[in-house]
Amino acid sequence: MTINKNIAISESGFLFNPSTGDSFSTNPIGKEIITLIKEGNTLERVVEQIHQLYAVDQDTLEKDLADFLYILKINHILKEDE
């Protein structure tokens, strides 16, 4: 699982894909998740980190994270490792 290498993400959570011209904005937690993936963390590690930082139960976190990753995938921001 990697963030496409040419995706730019700003301090405010604004994402830009220069190969398609698409832009998106994400909230601070979304930005943290993307940053963690960019740093090479595994999905388990991302869940662990977010769970430590925020008061959320594991099941909700995993479900919301799966939804968020799906959105990233269909918008060509995230790709699965081959």
Partner: protein, 349 residues
């Protein structure tokens, strides 16, 4: 740095909701670091906004419509040249290019006015009606298309197409027809405006991406910038767009410009389908109205054209800034009646 003073005639001053490229080309020329350019606007209509944009257009002249023929145009240009001493003309309308290409040698030999346009053969080869041949010749994917002259022709080719299909005018206008009735209606509407033939093109779904490019006419692509429209008007024109980082698209575009030995500015319109394959929908034979984005991205294509037209060699641009946007706006010019009177009655402003 001393900038060389030159005088350039530019058409396409119709900076309206479906804008001509004249004003963006002029803005690019005014930002030239090599030339100090006096702009002579050449207009077809008294309400072309560029006529009244005096900070960009130094002087304007009305010229005869393309339907008046090349000799009428030459006579008018001869007069304009006697007053303004034009070094170069940059035509920006598809419909006028035929006349300018015809006159090109005469303008050079008799008046010493340079132009920088493709030969008639190359110009004709990328015509909408010849696009399948063009695609075959240069190994570029193009949608299936046919030229038709009557409703009878439409019926004949319907077996080979599926609805929706695209009904296109020979110069401008395109509509998506979802059924036979709509196709007939668009056939009449577009042919009444632009004449025959009408082009029927296979509908391609995907993302539209465009490239503004310039070739030296000897097989080198001097520059190419890719853009995706972010906001489209009801006429399908870009009201906002963004430059793209798409090496494959640039590579295909360079191949088109280089293999066809395109001379001058052009716009390539592509569809990128879901599989990521590019299809060339059209090659417009002049700069697009969004060419100023290329300047904003670091490639001043109109300036490069001027240099080449005046015999200077230009090194190809190798890169441009990605993620730059353009956003159009409308602006009301307040104009005194005497200006409108001058251009309407005297043909000069």
């Amino acid at each position: 740095m001393n900038r060389r003073k030159i005088t350039v005639g530019v058409t396409g001053l119709n900076n309206i909701d479906s804008p001509g490229p004249g004003i963006p080309v002029i803005r690019a020329l005014k930002e030239s670091t090599a030339f100090d350019i006096r702009i002579i606007g050449l207009s077809y209509e008294s309400l072309e906004p560029g006529l009244y944009m005096h900070e960009l257009v130094d002087k304007s002249y009305a010229i005869p419509l393309p339907s008046a023929g090349s000799q009428a145009l030459f006579n008018r240009l001869q007069y304009i040249h006697s007053v303004e001493h034009l070094d170069l003309i940059i035509p920006n309308f598809d419909a006028e290019l035929h006349n300018f290409i015809l006159l090109s040698p005469q303008l050079k030999q008799q008046l010493n006015i340079a132009t920088f346009m493709p030969s008639r053969e190359v110009f004709d080869s990328r015509h909408k009606s010849d696009l399948p041949e063009f695609g075959k010749k240069y190994n570029i994917n193009v949608p299936k298309s046919n030229m038709i002259f009557s409703i009878k022709d439409l019926k004949k080719i319907e077996e080979d197409y599926e609805y929706p299909m695209v009904i296109k005018g020979k110069f401008y206008d395109a509509s998506i027809a979802n059924n036979h009735e709509q196709a007939i209606s668009y056939f009449h509407k577009i042919s009444a405006k632009w004449g025959l033939p009408i082009i029927v093109q296979e509908y391609m779904s995907g993302t539209e991406v465009n490239v503004t490019a310039i070739g030296d006419g000897e097989g080198t692509c001097i520059g190419a910038v890719a853009m995706r429209k972010l906001y489209i008007t009801d006429k399908g024109k870009a009201w906002a767009g963004i430059s793209l980082d798409d090496p494959e698209l640039i590579d295909i575009s360079q191949k088109v410009v280089e293999n066809s030995k395109w001379k001058g500015g052009c716009e390539l319109e592509f569809i990128k389908n879901k599989k990521g394959k590019y299809y060339l929908l059209e090659m417009n034979p002049r700069f697009p109205a969004w060419v100023y984005l290329a300047v904003g991205c670091g490639q001043n294509h109109p300036e490069a054209l001027v240099k080449m037209a005046l015999g200077e060699s230009v090194a190809p641009f190798t890169d441009y800034e990605k993620g730059k946007m353009f956003i159009r706006y409308s602006y009301d010019l307040i104009v005194n009646m005497d200006q409108f009177e001058k251009i309407s009655t005297l043909g000069e402003l």
